[in-house]
Symmetry: C2
Subunit: 218 residues, 2 copies
């Protein structure tokens, strides 16, 4: 009986780690669709978001069943509660990747991004995808050193995000208000994506140590 | 024993409803600080956000203790799980009100908003505050009709949000890129604030009916 229970707990974590893989792939594709004005890639991200929603719903049901039937305590209870939070964060990461793809589709065949900001978005995409993959690894391994790394990796995203504003506010911005609005929102989507990955890692620190490392939302 | 347990469940809901009152007050003040360039009001919102974070932490601890010590099932378990989600949503609403206040402070004594968009933000503030208060009422009363109203009220926010983009994209926008960037982000903060209020109400529908009404995140 206890073994089946441990399997269920492991399955819950495995589902969330898989979900991280899905939203990493979504952001990778969404970023490419944005940079390369690739409508087909954008459509793929948009139609595949339902998968992430389904894994989230399944994870929540699994967590609920574990609570109702097994009444876990201590570390096991922290695992289940953190899974409930984590599923929400990771689903939101999927939504944000979806928003990026929707922006690419909305402007197609026009590019959303002026050439001069594309390198920043390529980098924000790279950092975001790496954060999602690392969050998945932290869920699987409960490696606290890796969890701490996400905070540092997120600093890189924050720097990129801040830098985008410097570029936008510069008098040499020649791309007009509409492009500035798109760039503002897109940069915000990447930054929030990264915040949610960090929140997932922090919840794992809580699972292992019983303490939350600082505030979850920044 | 069961009475103390019911008291704890009620206390958990009561704490969340109070939290809704706090974030409604925060958005009301943040909006005024924005419209009237009132630095002192902005500072109040910024320094009071910690209160919301503390109520959230207390609510999560209470929920965790209930799960560990009482092993609730059925409706009671849905109450506790929904409280965990709700606390996260309401804390985020507080963060978004904080972001509005921070924008007001950052530009002080310059106004953040051009005169022509102030009426829209006054209205977004009014709708947001009403949504937060109604979400608190839904938590207290579990009134499904009121919960359904939040969806309609949120449509008003979405309309305002979309309209802001029309104004920004208009060729007659004469306030430059920096103001457009501020308006874009601020409008997004109000829209997300409303989304979280709707998510809270949806969780109460789930508590009562056992079913989620549509996707939580939009």
């Amino acid at each position: 009986m206890r073994d089946a229970y441990q399997d269920e707990l492991d399955g819950l974590a495995g589902g969330l780690a898989d979900m991280c893989g899905e939203v990493a792939a979504a952001l990778e594709k969404a970023t490419r669709s944005l940079l390369e004005c690739d409508l087909q890639l954008a459509e793929e991200v948009i139609s595949e978001d339902i998968k992430v929603d389904e894994i989230r719903a399944a994870a929540e049901e699994k967590a609920f069943a574990l609570l109702a039937l097994q009444a876990p305590v201590a570390t096991d209870l922290r695992i289940v509660v953190s899974a409930i939070h984590g599923a929400g964060d990771i689903e939101r990461m999927g939504d944000l990747a979806l928003h990026v793809a929707q922006a690419a589709r909305r402007r197609h065949p026009q590019p959303v991004l002026p050439e001069e900001v594309k390198p920043y978005f390529a980098e924000m995409g790279r950092v975001g995808v790496a954060l999602a993959l690392k969050a998945g690894e932290v869920i699987r391994t409960r490696d606290l050193a890796a969890a701490a790394e996400l905070e540092t990796d997120d600093d890189a995203m924050d720097d990129l995000h801040r830098h985008m504003f410097t570029v936008l506010m510069d008098r040499n911005w020649t791309h007009g208000v509409a492009a500035a609005v798109d760039v503002t929102l897109l940069a915000r989507f990447y930054e929030r994506y990264a915040d949610h990955a960090v929140a997932v890692a922090r919840r794992i620190v809580y699972v292992v140590t019983g303490r939350m490392p600082g505030p979850v939302t920044v």
